[in-house]
Symmetry: C2
Subunit: 223 residues, 2 copies
Amino acid sequence: MTNLLANLSISVNEKLYVKNPETSDLGKKIIEHSILLIHEIGFESFTFKKLGDKIQSNESSIYRYFENKHKLLLYLSSWYWSWIEYRLVFATTNVSDPMEKLAKAIEIVTEEIKDDLSITHINESILNKIIIGEFTKTFLTKEVDEENKEGYFLVYKSVVNRIILMIEEVNPDYKYAKTLASTLVQGALHQHYLKEHFKNITNLSESNCLADFYIDLIKKTVL
Amino acid sequence: MTNLLANLSISVNEKLYVKNPETSDLGKKIIEHSILLIHEIGFESFTFKKLGDKIQSNESSIYRYFENKHKLLLYLSSWYWSWIEYRLVFATTNVSDPMEKLAKAIEIVTEEIKDDLSITHINESILNKIIIGEFTKTFLTKEVDEENKEGYFLVYKSVVNRIILMIEEVNPDYKYAKTLASTLVQGALHQHYLKEHFKNITNLSESNCLADFYIDLIKKTVL
DNA sequence: AATAATTGATAGTATTACTATTATATTTGT
DNA sequence: ACAAATATAATAGTAATACTATCAATTATT
């Protein structure tokens, strides 16, 4: 899996960058350290100036790759969901039993990425933490509708749509496949956040895993 | 209900304001128009300067009520969840059947506030829209843990805890009452957002209500 | 070696998020 | 009704943010 990805590269919607960061050392450095810096100080405090200082480069150079930090976050999110989609497809192909297939998808979408699986400049474990804490901010803006039209959220929607199809495969008569799938993907991020900051309103813990909750839920509601 | 509230006032954690906005005309104007202005231009673009212009008052005067716009949003959120809690308690007391009680709670938490029910300066329908679009931003910050300790999220957690208790009343052996309750409250906001901006990944629509989805889900999983 | 492209350094602008000061209303206590 | 207290308005000022523009210095390409 990890080895496979070494020779596969994830491509992101071209409208999200001015210059493709994958095409240069500086670009890769921007991606690598933006993930670390956003994780360290939070998206609100993150600025291109601070990132420039971190990578011994200049603010103005970063602007040649990304219009602004919002686009950068959209880029990172898009990369993340592409990575999830790839792993989701990989884990579910050739699984003939619909429920087993759905269960595998749930595992991919709910698991916390613990180790840095990457050989690349992208630390998926930290990126996963950023997505948990910052992803909703990419679409909770006044510009959602325009940005949605531009296709900035296509990969995310694609992940949800794949799960919708799997739910329908399990039971074509279930009335709320869409709501359930989107609840699952968004809810998983939220539960991971609660686990870190609002422990007493979640059952998630070291010993209790999220996939169990969702698989139990889906077996009872959809099947 | 509406009449009852006219003589009941909701009090908000004192640490969230410098001066209680309920104690003056200017304070009430700040609350009333901050709701309208945040709805109109979004929280990111909202500033105290713009609010001052809107209410023909001065930026510096608004700073005497709230430290910054983040605290203002926390204030509005706290007010909103208190209002929800009040209605939740009101709707569920004296309902003896646990499932019926839970169903009523679900209705309160999932319904979209359509009309302005208020006689006060607070437009609950628009406030509901703000909560849908901006509430998660109050806690997705680097300061969550400190602010949580200060009690800024107490009312929200109280609403979730009431639902946890109701789930446990329905079935004390259900293993994921906390996760389910927090998923419900957060998920409801999210689904309303999807309905407005990402229609094709939700079943929510004019004809399809959210409470039905959750009541179906809870009857199948908890009962 | 010449040319093109990339990056770095510096400067500059408008806006934001405040704080401080002083003037002007408005309220309240006697 | 008048003085004192309090609230609000107006103005100015600061540091940081979110950029844009220009030009110099590197580095890569032909």
